[in-house]
């Protein structure tokens, strides 16, 4: 097995998943813009931010700090093992910040106005500062990365200029990063009444930047290890890595003593993890000090709530375990243990930001925020896009190594010979556009039907039955949506005024078959949505029984009893009253056909019954107060609504008179 096939093997499955998530994300992004935030997310006025802002933006930016820390260690201090990691660190920062900003586009209500903070300055807002720093830093990371990209694309002159300016970029980057990481913490400083006592701390900005520096270094160590695992295991994992029939060329080593020869890059990983652990130990000391000095935090920790458990898990993963693990010598020598340490710290850092932004923040919202499917899919879709960009850049540019130069010559040449189908499947379909498009054609429709909001509509909540229960009362208080603000309806008075028993049909337009006191909510089941009230399946059997149809299966003969014409659809069906002349009561028997076999929303059913009559009487009896919202709704009519409606009415009346 050649090296080429081995490497495609190790990353292929990951890339497949990333492509699938990317395509699902694209569908979710489209749906988010078509249907809006309210319909596609579980965010509302009480939970104004969620997964995108906290996980993608705040956690993402925190994890991408390696760009400026390693840039500082390598470029400014010229420390030995770190200078080799500057390019990967900048790539991680570029993609991390890019993904954060991209996810933010879906979070803000009017994404096309994302540039407004550049022009309209609100110098009192921490977010204003964060926005400026993050967007400027993103540009800086791109400028820092560009010499690497230009190396392959040519343009040597431009590359020279950019390389010379690298030092300046690094310093600007360090400034911008330290500014916005502290500001992200300060953001929560202004909400002591919302943030849980465990996380609300006067030094939260300091905690934010220190944990971000430590966790960022850990993430870079993890990425370096993974890169080696995917492309060249001997670099980090050493020479004896024999797996899945891979015969390693550098298997020499000190086999007599049974010791594993170290990979030549393991010391880089170790240096990153150790540096990260040093920073995290400072973070841990600050955290402990913070806990000791704030009595309310101590009380909250001992309270045994699930927040205190979360806090312990977070601190264990983010600081305690990584620091302790690095103290153990075998851990420092094992690439696997180092990867686990780095992974723990990175996970703990992300969890910390989610704790501060979501778990510790929305207690008072009264309900647990759980992101909707579309929120999850966009979150991971954006991350997957960044992942694919990562793979593309490291495979085609000199970020970690000069791999692309070696592979450029050995690329598979297209063969015009008649290929075996299996060969086509395994090789031509296994890479690039062909494979990605194959994933797309499954994932795109699947994501569409699982995320498309109209397909997800659950059965609307039933409204209370106002008529059947309250028929005997003089005055009905109708509060179908149960918001405590009821409309008052003088039922008996209306009956007398409109002409006694015979006037019932004026409002009660249609009853269920064989039922004379059908409550409105029996058919108008949802407050704002239409309800399908026609049971097609049952009708097949009812019609067959009623008409005494014969044949093998009587139900099968019943189609033509109602449907005429070529196509059997709702449009070609009979009106209800044609059969239900005896047992249903309708105002106008000829008009007893149910439009679309659906009942309108409860809201419009009520309004459309009352308002036309009231409007007419307001005009004919010259009693304008009859036509006001407050005639029925004594409370809860929004201010200004009435005036708007009346303006509209006036215009309509004027048009009618003309």
């Amino acid at each position: 097995m050649s090296e080429l096939e081995l490497t495609t093997d190790r990353t292929q499955r990951i890339k497949d998943v990333l492509w699938a998530l990317t395509f699902a994300g694209l569908v979710a992004m489209l749906l988010r813009f078509v249907f809006g935030l309210g319909a596609t997310t579980n965010l509302d006025d009480r939970v104004p931010w969620g997964l995108w802002k906290i996980f993608n933006m705040i956690s993402g930016a925190a994890l991408a700090t390696c760009g400026f820390t390693v840039g500082f260690l390598g470029h400014v201090l010229h420390l030995k093992p770190f200078d080799r990691m500057v390019k990967p660190a900048i790539l991680v920062a570029f993609l991390g910040y890019g993904a954060s900003l991209f996810a933010l586009l879906f979070d803000i209500g009017l994404p096309w106005r994302f540039w407004h903070p550049f022009v309209h300055w609100n110098i009192h807002s921490f977010l204003f500062e964060v926005f400026w720093c993050v967007s400027c830093y993103f540009v800086i990371t791109f400028l820092e990365l560009s010499p690497t990209l230009l190396e392959r694309l040519g343009l040597a002159k431009l590359r020279g200029v950019l390389s010379k300016a690298a030092g300046v970029f690094v310093i600007i980057g360090i400034t911008l990063s330290s500014l916005h990481h502290t500001s992200l913490g300060s953001l929560f400083l202004v909400t002591p009444q919302r943030l849980h006592a465990l996380w609300y701390s006067p030094i939260i900005s300091l905690l934010f930047i220190i944990s971000a520096i430590g966790g960022g270094l850990m993430l870079l160590a993890l990425i370096k290890t993974l890169h080696s695992w995917w492309y060249d295991p001997s670099r980090v994992f050493g020479g004896t890595m024999v797996r899945e029939g891979v015969v390693c060329k550098t298997c020499g080593g000190d086999s007599e003593n049974g010791a594993t020869p170290e990979g030549p890059d393991l010391h880089v990983v170790r240096a990153l993890v150790t540096a990260g652990a040093w920073v995290l130990s400072v973070y841990l000391l600050l955290k402990i000090g913070d806990l000791v000095l704030r009595p309310e935090a101590r009380a909250a920790l001992l309270a045994g709530t699930w927040e205190s458990v979360l806090y312990v898990v977070e601190l264990l993963s983010a600081a305690i375990l990584p620091v302790l693990l690095v103290l153990i010598k075998p851990v420092r020598r094992s690439p696997y243990a180092l990867a686990v340490t780095a992974g723990l710290a990175a996970f703990g850092l992300a969890l910390n930001r989610v704790d501060v932004g979501i778990f510790g923040y929305f207690r008072d919202a009264g309900e647990l925020y759980f992101p909707s499917a579309i929120e999850w899919v966009i979150t991971f879709g954006v991350l997957a896009m960044a992942g694919l960009a990562f793979f593309f850049i490291i495979e085609n540019f000199s970020v970690f190594d000069d791999r692309w130069k070696r592979l450029a010559d050995s690329e598979l040449k297209f063969s015009s010979s008649f290929d075996r189908l299996t060969w086509v499947w395994n090789h031509r379909l296994m890479t690039g556009l062909e494979r990605a498009s194959l994933i797309a054609l499954i994932v795109l429709p699947l994501a569409w039907i699982t995320l498309y909001p109209p397909f997800l509509e659950s059965t609307p909540p039933d409204t209370r039955a106002p008529l059947a229960v309250d028929a005997a009362r003089d005055t009905l208080r109708i509060d179908a949506n149960r918001d405590g603000l009821d409309a008052v309806f003088a039922h008996t008075a209306h009956k007398q005024r409109l002409g006694g028993e015979e006037s019932c049909v004026n409002c009660h337009h249609l009853s269920m078959p064989a039922d004379r006191a059908t409550p409105c909510s029996e058919c108008h089941r949802a407050m704002e949505a239409e309800t399908v009230i026609f049971n097609h399946e049952q009708h097949l059997a009812w019609v067959a029984e009623d008409k005494e149809l014969g044949g093998w299966i009587p139900e099968n003969q019943s189609c033509v009893e109602c449907h005429s014409g070529q196509a059997r659809s709702a449009a070609s069906a009979k009106a209800c009253m044609e059969c239900h002349r005896e047992d249903m009561h309708a105002v106008d028997p000829a008009n007893g056909r149910l439009a679309q076999f659906a009942a309108t929303s409860y809201h419009s059913a009520m309004h459309n019954t009352c308002i036309p009559c009231h409007t007419e009487n307001a005009l004919t009896q010259n009693r304008p107060e009859l036509d006001r919202c407050t005639t029925c709704h004594q409370f809860g009519v929004p201010e200004g609504l009435e005036e708007n409606l009346q303006m509209r009415e006036l215009v309509e009346v004027r048009i009618r008179r003309q």
Binding site: L433, L441, P445, I449
Partner: protein, 232 residues
């Protein structure tokens, strides 16, 4: 049962139509990509006239219906008429296209659709029997060639029975669900099986197989398609 029918007519139909449309689009794009990117240098040698001539001739293959296995060829030709017209222009389907794609197609009369459906079913049966019983045809038939024919039978038969209650041995809903599910299975299979010739047929005339086979490649065709040496 009604819930299953609603699901099959709603999300599942959208899914299968999406898979088919995207899959065919993918074939189209990859074919054009192959043609223009990888073969640009050879395009000038392409026998454009012959390709056009062949394509038009195969659209109405009168000459090919009178030679070779006449029964098989004619059954295949007749089958394609019904297989294209009935799914697209049957009155009950037009409602579906209007609902999902917003296009109003013309309708063939229900009586004509019935006749076409019966003819199509008979044609498929002829093709099926030929592929199994005639040794020459059997030798060049893959498993998928036979099983796809069986799968194609299902929506035609179930659709016919659902529309004709008098002959229907099952409850209407059951038959209709079978019709929906089998037709949707076919739609999903289109991009992954030889059914993709819906789009690829237009590229057959310009594919490498047609105009630049190497000398002796014919022997390898059978080997490639069948995975074994053909005994024809």
């Amino acid at each position: 049962m009604q819930a299953w029918i609603d699901f099959a007519m709603g999300p599942l139909f959208a899914f299968s139509l999406g898979v088919m449309a995207l899959g065919l689009l993918r074939h189209l794009v990859l074919q054009l990509d192959t043609l223009f990117r990888r073969k640009r240098s050879r395009l000038k040698y392409m026998p454009w006239n012959k390709m056009l001539h062949d394509s038009l001739e195969w659209a109405l293959p009168v000459r090919h219906l009178t030679s070779g296995n006449v029964i098989f060829s004619n059954a295949s030709f007749v089958f394609h008429i019904g297989a294209i017209l009935v799914p697209l222009f049957y009155a009950g389907h037009i409602v579906l296209w209007e609902q999902w794609l917003g296009v109003k197609l013309w309708s063939i009369g229900n009586g004509f659709a019935d006749v076409l459906t019966v003819i199509t079913i008979l044609a498929v049966l002829v093709l099926l029997v030929s592929r199994i019983a005639v040794p020459r045809l059997r030798a060049i038939s893959r498993n998928s060639d036979v099983s796809l024919l069986v799968l194609i039978l299902l929506p035609f038969i179930s659709g016919f029975l659902a529309a004709h209650p008098a002959f229907n041995p099952l409850p209407w809903q059951t038959m209709f669900l079978i019709h929906l599910l089998s037709a949707e299975a076919l739609l999903i299979l289109v991009p992954f099986t030889k059914l993709s010739h819906i789009v690829l047929i237009f590229f057959d005339r310009i594919s490498e197989i047609h105009w630049q086979l190497r000398p002796g490649a014919g022997d390898r065709v059978a080997e490639t398609v069948l995975g074994k040496e053909a005994k024809v």
